[in-house]
Symmetry: C2
Subunit: 100 residues, 2 copies
DNA sequence: TTTACAGATGCAAATATATGAATATTTAGG
DNA sequence: CCTAAATATTCATATATTTGCATCTGTAAA
């Protein structure tokens, strides 16, 4: 349980911007594919989700920018992975709430 | 852990729309004020957050519409409360992830 | 039944986000 | 160096969200 100090607007902005990063069907799908510490390249995600390469890169950039994902370049590929594996709980929590 | 069937686009849409409902600084603040089963009126929230009455009502409507909150009218007041108290964990989870 | 309070809704302007085509950048291999 | 593959970026357009004023609706009390 957080106290009133933790409700300050800066923290609210950060929490909301992180949530906003995740709150898109494509980006929720990306998170689910990365559950359990998996690492995928842009091309793999672009193939898995059937969306344009540039669109994929945009979405991954948003997730990385907001601290949801990390990336590591290995040769020509860039691997993306969850910064905090616990974040995938968010989606599971929501899905539990919607399955009644 | 969810299987591939649970990644279908309908579920993704639902999860994303619920997250989108929460993903706003005002609405995150509302959630935090309603933690622990608390019930607050529109006016109370409007005073707590220092935002316009109509803006408050719009935000609460979004949260209710997307299944995050419930409301009950009692006389002239409408009390809003969390539909699933577990949802407040989402914000706490995020804040833990951002406090390193 | 009038009045005032609490809340909801319609609307418009400002702002933000999403998408993809085109293009640029980075890297490995020849 | 030249090329091709993988990824990132720029840009424009389309769409969605946010905010608050004005207004409408519902309720209680006088």
């Amino acid at each position: 349980m957080l106290n009133i100090q933790e409700l300050d607007s800066n923290r609210l902005e950060i929490a909301a911007s992180m949530l906003k990063a995740i709150a898109h069907p494509v980006r929720v799908a990306v998170l689910k594919h990365l559950e359990g510490g998996k690492k995928l390249t842009v091309t793999e995600i672009h193939d898995l989700l059937g969306i344009e390469q540039s669109t994929t890169s945009h979405h991954l950039g948003i997730l990385k920018d907001k601290g949801v994902l990390c990336s590591r370049r290995e040769g020509k590929n860039t691997y993306y992975y969850l910064k905090h594996d616990i974040l995938s709980q968010i989606v599971d929590c929501l899905q539990r709430c919607t399955c009644e």
